[in-house]
């Protein structure tokens, strides 16, 4: 329906974000008979961090003792933040549901003729999810970023608003019985492969609706890419050695200290990667395992196995970090009625602890959180009628002075200078964190008071900048709050050991004024 230039949509379930988690959520709801609308900023099928990658899922068969053992191993790594129940639930749901994708994904058998169900190539996987969603009746609207959430008279989240940049052009409002937020993590627009759309929009919307965050200090993780490229795929680098500008080998980091040595050497100059230890078989297999990994080399005339090549570190923020929206219920509720948060936008501390869940746990979490939240939202059975309004009214004042594009770019650069600076992020102390906080507060002061005027595209970019900044501020406040080293959060000025204090979560919140506090882990 189009009324006065505004498009209206109505559904039982609204899913925001069509990456791994949003697709599984939409699919689950649609197969259960619900009317589902999926709104995606980019294109559902190519957007999100899983699409150009190749997610393996946590995959443990229900054999006697197997899952208990896997959970125990993960709990040990989780250092007091993990919860066995959550781990068991995502493992079980992934095992139960993932094989369904075989209807649309063409698995190839391994050398022994076995199908390895847990390992999927990203572009094919996300294409299959899109096809499956459409076959199940999900309405997908691509190139339609959501700007913010809508509430009904009772204060319940009952929709969202944004703009269609393709198809039915122009602003829209979507009304629904429940909203599932699946906008992914935030990597501050580093060159992390596939992460450009992951600007923290969902975090911002949720905060405006009153949600809080947990574990945002676990956002300091970096990966290797060939210089100036986006190819952050890890497998081949498990055979790598790194050399500094003087040709000295950089000693591998102690556990947990990932790439601090490389980061410090990069601050001094070039770092070269040496892959000569990669076995011949792996070199030959690489293009058929991960066909995109060779592209940067081939297209720049580099033979990565015969010659050393320069690398960069790219920040992963909360993507292969951990923090996100704090969950307030066992089915991915956020504490805000009507709003669920799934996948990377939610805090994954309960299944990962303070170390990354990349490699298996995150994909299992993305899938199962989507499925289980969708089922819980349907079980609620809420039907939304009546008038809706935005949570904040700063969107309404569209006549204000145009925010200048150049100032906006400057602010984004300032945010990146703080959040993507590997040496300080990998070795935090009160001094560099306070400097980071001050820099970000200055950004906040110059951003907040400019009204979002201009074209729809400019307004979208403004929303993204606000979101990037909000996420950066929660990350920094949380990192200041946790004064011990724990997992990927390394405080070089720590006086106490994490194991000497009772385990706690760092909860952060607030947009105008950012707050952080500790909350003891309930036994």
């Amino acid at each position: 329906m189009n009324e006065g230039g505004l498009h209206h949509h109505q559904s039982d379930i609204l899913v925001i974000g069509g990456g791994l988690s949003g697709c599984w959520a939409a699919l689950t709801a649609a197969r259960a008979g619900a009317r589902v609308l999926l709104l995606e900023k980019g294109y559902c099928g190519t957007s999100g961090v899983a699409a150009p990658a190749g997610p393996g899922h946590w995959w443990v068969p229900p054999l006697p003792g197997a899952r208990e053992e896997a959970v125990k191993a993960r709990l040990d790594k989780a250092q007091g933040l993990g919860e066995a129940t959550w781990m068991h639930r995502i493992m079980a749901r992934t095992w139960q549901t993932l094989p369904d994708i075989g209807r649309h994904y063409q698995y190839e058998p391994d050398d022994s003729g076995r199908i390895r169900l847990n390992a999927l190539r990203g572009p094919e996987y996300l294409r299959a999810l899109r096809t499956y969603c459409l076959a199940a009746g999900v309405q997908i609207l691509d190139h339609s970023p959501v700007f913010g959430l809508l509430r009904d008279k009772a204060g319940r989240v009952a929709g969202a608003y944004g703009v269609h940049f393709q198809g039915a052009l122009g602003p829209y409002r979507a009304q629904a019985g429940a909203v599932i937020l699946a906008t992914g993590g935030c990597a501050f627009q580093s060159r992390l492969l596939g992460a450009a759309n992951n600007t923290g929009d969902g975090h911002l919307m949720a905060a405006q609706a009153g949600a809080q965050f947990s574990g945002m200090e676990f956002s300091s993780i970096f990966s290797i890419v060939p210089h100036n490229t986006t190819m952050s795929r890890a497998m081949i680098y498990s055979f790598a050695r790194y050399l500094d500008n003087a040709g000295q080998e950089i000693a591998p980091d102690a556990e947990g200290q990932s790439f601090l040595g490389v980061a410090r050497a990069l601050a001094q100059g070039r770092v070269l990667c040496d892959l000569s230890a990669a076995p011949e078989t792996v070199r030959a297999q690489l293009p058929l395992i991960s066909p995109n990994v060779m592209l940067p080399f081939r297209r720049q005339g580099i033979d990565p196995f015969q010659e050393r090549f320069p690398i960069d570190l790219v920040g992963e923020g909360t993507i292969r970090g951990v923090g996100g929206i704090r969950l307030k219920g066992e089915n991915w509720q956020t504490g805000v009625p009507g709003l669920y948060a799934t996948g990377d936008v939610a805090s994954r501390e309960s299944v990962t602890g303070p170390i990354s869940g990349g490699g298996a746990v995150n994909a299992a979490w993305a899938l199962s959180s989507g499925c289980l939240a969708a089922e819980a939202a349907l079980a609620e059975g809420h039907v939304s009628t009546g008038e809706l309004e935005p949570f904040t009214d700063n969107e309404a004042c569209s006549n204000g002075q145009n925010g200048s594009d150049s100032r906006e770019k400057t602010i984004r650069k300032q945010i990146q200078a703080v959040m993507l600076d590997a040496p300080t992020q990998l070795s935090r102390n009160a001094g560099n964190l306070r400097a980071a906080r001050n820099a970000l507060e200055n950004c906040h002061d110059s951003l907040t008071y400019s009204a979002p005027g201009g074209s729809w595209r400019q307004r979208q970019q403004r929303r993204e900048t606000q979101a990037l900044l909000a996420v950066a501020r929660w990350c920094t406040a949380s990192a200041l709050e946790r004064t011990e080293t724990l997992g990927m959060h390394r405080r070089e000025d720590a006086i106490t050991k994490a194991s000497d204090v009772p385990a706690y979560h760092v909860i952060s919140s607030g947009l105008e004024h950012v707050q952080s506090r500790r909350e003891a882990v309930h036994a």
Binding site: Y43, N228, A277, N292, R299
Partner: protein, 111 residues
Amino acid sequence: MIELILEAQCTACGECVTICPSNVFDGGPGGVPVLARQQDCQTCFLCELYCETDALFVHPDATATHDLTAIDVATGDYRRDSGWGSWAEDAQYRNEHWRMGDVFALARSRT
């Protein structure tokens, strides 16, 4: 960053306009698309998979454009190695993603 649309190979199908997650292209069925927002390109290479005639070339340098022309580039290797679209039946390019776990295990066993 997306560098080139090879006009001679483009069938104006509009697929890249639709599937680019960064909404880089303008145009649609009936015309060769234009790189309307080249700087927004996130260098994900995925448009190359969806272009059945290999008319697109993404340069791996995400930070700058390179002024290349059609004669400077070879296209289609990503789609071929992926066994995507018209390559799907070619046994030579079978999806061997399943080996990834074994390779990681091999790397771990050596350290």
